[in-house]
């Protein structure tokens, strides 16, 4: 596919984000675009979206891509509106939008996409080659419109893309917000009609909607699932979400810090929609988001009366249009969430709400689709919503149900969020780079690994104290191997027995359903129960026995016929503990064995702990002045020593850092009077970035040689020597102008420095 990424050529038509800033969805974009290929003709793609994962921009970007590519693929994007009234009005809007976008494409005039044009205007704009069929389309529409047959009209409008003559191209229909189509079921079941029309059409299409709704809708429409592909759209991962925050903050001119950005990512769970709304709010209020306090103050504001409040209000109003029902729901949901009631009888809620059964079912269905609750028959779980949703519930409960003073609710919302923020980040940092049991078990797929990796006692005898190189060499000569089973499902022990919450963290215990040799029958089915025991020393026998009993008891309670207990501890187990486990045919591993196991089984790089000597980064912020550049110089000296730079090179690096800091202090007029230093260690180089907020120094790019002619000229030139020194002392120097200031990036290569 010819993708146009040059900003010079790429026209932004429906998309709201510049292409180069559209992060985290490259694979999904490619997959959606692939649906337009000839071989996919007639196949639909169901885009199953997690709530607030943000699918609209993905489809708009796809539209722009095809519009710019100018191939036989004619893109069409239509979003169902939350504010639509009837299926008929939505269908008419669909027809109008289709013709507009079609003509925009045919005429290569993107402005038509956003113009307010009537059907007659569109007919007048039709190129000669399209005039006949468009004129006929409009005539038929006019006849059907006034025929009082709403269903026929809806089907006719939805079928418009199929009328495009083949020689003019292949329409690629992208429909956004299928769950909203269901709200238009007034006489005509719009959602069902959409799926029926496109499911039977000879067109490639994409239907995007909430994951819990769209599959059900496809079933109700009796779609042929063999002709439907699926793509799941989750929230962004941490790296992409961080990039999103950076990009949006820059576009919205909201000052942020890396700490605040990371907090936003974690607090909003990587949701593009919530992150973007939050930064939009910061922009509107001209607020900086540099500290946790800044973020939580704005967060409280938003929950009580801003974008976040409006977002959840709208969803809740869609689910429960009546105000008193909504308030009662807020009370029920908050009380269940606050009490961590994972299983609430549905009947109890219905009685509390005093609603007819059909209305109550619709409400439950709505709450379930938006993933505010998990509803499974007679019970529901209201503890599963996001933290933002729970905070929204709490403030509304306190205001609308308990009638507490607003000032108190605001103050405590800020305080609660502030108190929680460090824990939120601590949890994230602990999980960073960590290999979890779930991930490891999930990777079991009949690999052969040295048996000693599951036997701490033998491992300790043979390999304890050996270097990594010796260990790897030793394992290569192992003769006894163990074939791992194939895992089909893994979950935390918490999911099987909530009592485990009392004794360990969620990611420290796992239950993996698997089959030996990949053979799916009763004889080969085996369930692994694994737990990591927190201990700084070898685990003693009594603790080992306790943990074994916990897992063994879980297995027996759940009726597992064949199971394998596996205990892991940082430093392994005492000999008595190991003997006990051996007597029970349980496996035992230390952290080191685990790491080797990960290495042996993992193609998946996410399993591998990042080596400590690669890609390490050190960050430092110092106030300008007071010879604080010496702090930076001392720090970089320590960093450079780790890379074994020779003393001369270290001195050069130190001098360059000092000059860079002085340069920033003297010339940047920094508003915060701070210098931001980043030292990045890579295997063959040290990358140092010195940044400050403020103006671009005048002497940037000055390559003038500091030759001394006479004293007066010298005095003028002397002050510009800093950059000259930096360029001479370091191997690569790059000066970047960023929105808020300047950044000087310097690299010293190890190979240039040694010998």
């Amino acid at each position: 596919m010819n993708t146009l990424t040059s900003s010079d050529n790429f026209r932004r038509i429906l998309s709201r984000v510049p292409r180069h800033e559209f992060v985290g969805r490259a694979a999904e974009l490619e997959r959606v675009a692939a649906q337009a290929k000839q071989e996919k003709n007639g196949r639909g793609l169901l885009l199953l979206m997690a709530p607030s994962a943000g699918v609209s921009e993905l489809l708009r970007q796809t539209f722009d891509q095809f519009f710019n590519e100018r191939t036989e693929v004619i893109p069409f994007y239509f979003a169902f509106s939350r504010y639509g009234t009837t299926a008929v009005s939505a269908a008419i809007e669909f027809l109008n939008t289709f013709l507009q976008q079609y003509l925009a494409f045919r005429r290569n005039d993107p402005t038509l996409c956003n113009s307010a044009l009537s059907l007659q205007d569109l007919v007048a704009l039709a190129p000669t080659a399209d005039l006949d069929w468009i004129d006929q389309l409009v005539q038929i529409y006019t006849r059907v419109r006034f025929s009082n047959d709403d269903k026929e009209l809806v089907r006719f409008c939805l079928g418009a893309p199929q009328r495009v003559p083949t020689k003019h191209g292949r329409p690629f229909v992208m429909l956004d917000g299928s769950q909203l189509a269901e709200n238009l079921n007034t006489g005509v079941a719009m959602g069902t009609e959409v799926l029926r029309v496109f499911g039977r059409a000879d067109l490639s299409f994409v239907l995007a909607g909430l994951r819990r709704q769209i599959i059900n809708a496809a079933h109700e429409a009796e779609c042929d699932f063999e002709s439907l592909d699926r793509l799941r759209l989750e929230k962004l991962d941490t790296d992409d979400a961080n990039l999103l925050v950076e990009n949006v903050a820059r576009r919205q001119q909201v000052p942020t810090s890396s700490e605040a950005r990371e907090l936003m990512v974690q607090q909003f769970g990587g949701s593009p929609l919530l992150i973007t709304s939050f930064l939009q709010a910061a922009h509107e209020k001209n607020a900086a988001l540099v500290s946790y306090l800044d973020c939580e103050r704005l967060y409280a504001d938003e929950l009580l009366g801003g974008h976040l409040r409006r977002y959840f209000d709208e969803l809740l109003e869609e689910v429960a249009p009546k105000l008193d029902t909504r308030i009662a729901l807020i009370q029920l949901m908050w009380e269940a969430a606050a009490n961590a009631e994972k299983s609430v009888p549905v009947e109890a809620w219905r009685k509390h709400l005093s609603l007819p059964a059909s209305e109550f079912v619709e409400i439950l269905r709505g709450l379930h689709i938006y993933e505010f609750v998990n509803w499974n028959g007679p019970n529901l779980d209201a503890t599963t919503g996001s933290q933002v949703w729970k905070d929204y519930l709490k403030v509304n409960y306190r205001l609308a149900v308990k009638n507490e003073p607003r000032a108190l609710v605001v103050a405590e919302a800020i305080a609660d969020s502030l108190k929680r923020a460090p824990d939120t980040m601590a949890l994230h940092y602990r999980q960073l780079g960590k290999v979890t049991l779930r991930k490891i078990l999930d990777q079991f797929d009949c690999q052969h690994v040295p048996k000693v990796l599951f036997d701490y006692s033998t491992f300790a005898t043979n390999y304890k104290g050996m270097s990594d190189v010796e260990l790897v060499a030793g394992l290569k000569s192992e003769s006894e191997f163990f074939k791992l089973p194939r895992t089909v499902h893994v979950a935390s022990c918490f999911s099987f027995n909530s009592d485990f919450r009392q004794v360990c963290e969620e990611d420290k215990c796992a239950v993996g359903h698997s089959f030996e040799d990949g053979i799916y029958n009763d004889e080969h089915e085996i369930i692994w129960l694994a737990a990591e025991i927190e201990s700084k020393m070898e685990v003693e026998k009594d603790t080992t026995e306790l943990w074994f009993e916990r897992l063994d008891s879980l297995a027996r309670t759940l009726g597992f016929l064949r199971y394998q207990v596996w205990l892991i501890s940082n430093e392994g187990f005492t000999s008595e503990a190991s003997s006990f486990l051996q007597s029970r045919a349980a496996f035992s591993s230390s952290q080191r064995q685990l790491e080797v196991l990960v290495d042996q089984i993992g193609e998946d790089q996410s399993l591998r702990p990042r080596p400590l000597d690669e890609g390490d980064e050190f960050l430092m912020v110092v106030p300008m002045g007071d010879d604080n550049e010496m702090l930076a110089a001392t720090t970089v000296e320590q960093v450079a020593r780790r890379l074994a730079f020779p003393p001369a090179a270290i001195n050069q690096i130190k001098t360059a850092i000092v000059e860079a800091c002085i340069n920033a202090s003297e010339h940047s007029h920094s508003p915060d009077q701070k210098i931001y230093q980043r030292f990045r260690v890579e295997s063959d180089k040290l990358v140092v970035t010195i940044s400050s907020r403020g103006v671009l120094p005048k002497n940037v790019g000055s390559g003038s040689s500091p030759s001394i002619t006479n004293n007066n000229e010298a005095a003028e030139e002397r002050r510009g020597w800093g950059l000259k020194l930096i360029r001479t002392l370091m191997d690569e120097v790059e000066f970047e102008r960023v929105d808020e200031g300047t950044s000087l990036r310097m690299i010293k290569y190890l190979r240039n420095s040694s010998g």
Partner: protein, 126 residues
């Protein structure tokens, strides 16, 4: 004669030569202190200056520009000036910025004093 002035720069005199000791980090502040002390010594009648860099591990460009100023002052006074005990990295910096064209370098304080006693009072310009 050792310096007992308010300046914190260490210095002493050997005959008509003042020996001034630079600190471990030669920056604007310490550079200006050295400059002040050098001027004071010249005003007191010294006819040669030795600036010893034995303790100096790091020099920044501002410090170097101040040293150039001291060289200027010394030249105008007709005084000789020698830098002693400069480590290799600092010599490299001095070379980069052209300092070594205007001042002699000596291995240590003794050699500097010896060189001065043998040299013509008028500095040789390269």
């Amino acid at each position: 004669m050792d310096s007992l002035s308010g300046a914190t720069v260490r210095s002493h005199c050997v005959g008509t030569t003042a020996v001034v000791y630079a600190s471990d980090y030669l920056n604007k502040l310490t550079g200006e202190k050295i400059e002040r002390e050098c001027r004071r010594q010249l005003d007191s009648g010294c006819r040669a200056l030795v600036i010893d860099f034995g303790d100096t591990h790091l020099v920044n460009s501002i410090g170097i520009s101040i040293l150039l100023g001291i060289i200027d002052v010394a030249e105008k006074s007709g005084a000789q000036i020698v830098f002693s005990d400069v480590n290799n990295q600092t010599v490299e910096l001095f070379d980069m910025l052209g300092l070594t064209r205007h001042v002699a370098l000596a291995k240590d304080e003794q050699e500097a004093l010896s060189n001065i006693s043998q040299l013509d009072p008028t500095p040789t310009l390269h």
